[in-house]
Amino acid sequence: MTQAAAKGHKDSSLQSLVEELTGEKLSACYQCGKCSAGCPAAYAMDRLPHQIIRLIQLNQRDKVLNSHAIWLCASCQTCTTRCPKDVDLARIMDALRELALQEGRTAQESDAVVFQQVFLNWVRRTGRQFEGGLVGEYKLRTGHFFQDLGAAPKMMGKLKMIPRGIKGRQAVQRIFRKCEGPKNA
């Protein structure tokens, strides 16, 4: 009789990596599809959420990290709330995005990635969001200059034109440095 079998196996598979990053048990997913059925963004995805999990189970690294789907997930928590096996799919999507970003695989939905990166840039600089800068820099980097021009007048009234940093912004910068490692995003 063998010893108590080791739980899972530590290897180089994508499944092991995601399980380690998230603490979620991917083998629990039995592909019922309830996540995909309720996902409000699924209609726009190249692969449905449950298919992403399936591809992780099958170690299809490229197919997963090159997908549009992981960037179109809105983290709305519908899947996590309803999954009958208690798999936190939203957390898994976060981990996949982080992996894809680390490997430079962001071209599929570059606008979405740019938006989030610009968002974080302002937080890093000032400690808080600077919405005027967010919109401006986003348009600059994506080239969508004419987006939402109709909304501009009213919006200008609400947005501050000059960013204001908090007193603790250097503390925040140190937080960013420690979390992002030596290379800045």
């Binding site: 309830k34 059925a37 208690d86």
Partner: protein, 671 residues
Amino acid sequence: MARIGVFICHCGENIGRTVDCAAVAAAAAKFPGVVHAADYRYMCSDPGQNLIRQAIKEKKLTGVVVAACSPRMHEPTFRRATAESGVNPFLCEMANIREHCSWVHEDRPEATRKAIDLVRVIVEKVKRNLPLLPVKVPITRRALVIGGGIAGIQAALDIANGGHEVILVEKDPSVGGHMAQLSETFPTLDCSQCILTPRMVEVAQHPRIKLYAYSEVDSVKGFIGNFEVSIRRKATSVNNTLCTGCGACQQACPAKKIPSEFNRGLGTRTAIYSPFPQAIPNKPVIDQANCARYKDAAKRGIPPAESKVCGLCQKKCPIQPKPAVDFTLCKDTFVTEKVGAIVVATGFDVLPPKEFGEYGYGKYADMIDSLQFERLASASGPTQGAMKRPSDGKEPKEIVFIQCVGSRDNARGCPYCSKICCMYTAKHTMLYRHKVHDGKATVFYMDVRAAGKNYDEFWRRAVEEDGAQYLRGRVSKVYKRGDKLVVKGVDTLSGELVEIRADMVVLATAAVAQPGAEQLAQRLNIAYDMYKYYSEAHPKLRPVETNTAGVFLAGACQAPKDIPDAVAQASAAASKVQGLFSSQELERDPTIAHVNEALCAACWYCVDVCPYSAIEKKEIKDKKGNLIRMVASVNEGVCQGCGLCAATCRSKSVELDGFKDEQVYAEIVAL
């Protein structure tokens, strides 16, 4: 002078791979008192047992130690072999060097050392064993069957046809259980009541079956062969000897809008009611909570016979001058029955899916569960079998069936599979399509489990001949839009998102234990699992027995199952009962406690700790009948030999035969 024989079993590789059996035998040969030591590959085999028999004869052994697996496996085997050679079987003991040694250690020298220790300990014990004779208790050869569904009915009929009297207790006004609610049964599409009612009649008319309907088991005392059961007969307000079941009272009753339990709320009944037309016994009962007269009597604090409110049922009863409706029969009564065996056949319930807010069950009238669908489809149901949706009575042109609602759901339901839903859902699609030829039936499933005889062919027929559409994927949400229910699902096989606007949605909800299952189990002293299903004694080899001697299981109270399995299990339980009743007396394991009356201080601590209430207070009187003192006394028929009293007794006056203090100390010292 002790002459102990020691036999070390290899158990193939199970022990032999980790423990050096030859070395253990060699070491045992040197123990004081051991005159024979050998090792062998399979002690439980015939040749192995012959080794014991031969050694006993040749070496005139006074005790046997077999070092092998757990005594739970083969103690009876080796004791029988010992007894056959003329030595008292209780002079044979086992040392567990498998589950306690070779199966939990890896290091060979260490495991071998431990095995030697274990053998030495048991040798020391056996040297002090005394021969014991089995305890004999008389048996009452009558059986109690709790539950009048198909399993209970089958068990009762089998036992009664075997020549023994049966008491059948059913909590509802009629027998029949859930099977009576079904429209048709898979895989034959037999009309459920047509095949059930003949059995129901047989049970009611059988000369050896005493049926207590509208009754519940209140308490159980005693032990196998000698149970004393108190049965609560709930007040019916109807004299069953006079009542002919004509139904005039039900037609007269003005309270006509009470939701019918039998129809799962889709239909109504009156306050004095019989649950369905084919009910057996066909005698109505009064639902006191909804009866105007009872409510008036309760408010005014008077007996219902004195209230002047309503009473139409009594007035319209055609039996005069003394009507069958009798308001003096307003209190529960109790009867006591003595039985020797109990079969528990209390069945199951379906999970009310309120937990699943994303489906909105309870909010939408056209979202029903599977049992409700059975009532809709049934010819004796609230719509006489016509497909009419509950909200507006219109014929649904598109029905969505959702499987696994609550089953296979670790997060908010039961992790197990409820076994019957795949089959009954396929059946539902067929019933629907047979009645509504242009209707569309869609089933959202995860896997189709159709493992029985003709089962797979049945569900394929639903798809290939009756046009049911099966989509593989769970439904995430259902919401109302106008008079339709919008179902958001997915088909994982094609990767397509699916949205259906259905007229009706049927949920296949999980099978769960009955409410009250836990309390009944505690009354019967039987084990149950975390889902409140009753535990069988061994999942593979003893499916109809419990760990409580004399109590057997049949049907869905043990685990979800379909009708053929319930019937088979019921017959199996009946055969166990008949096996038990095949002798006049019962032999019990004599490793029970005994009180040394000279030492007993009558502190009664043992009485308090005994889990089986097996210890009594005994009076010791002089010749004139005056009380000298009290002592504790163990009832040999009830004691299970757990040893709690022996451990608790402060004056060391209680000891367990076969595990006396002297023996236990010897084992400890030997280590």
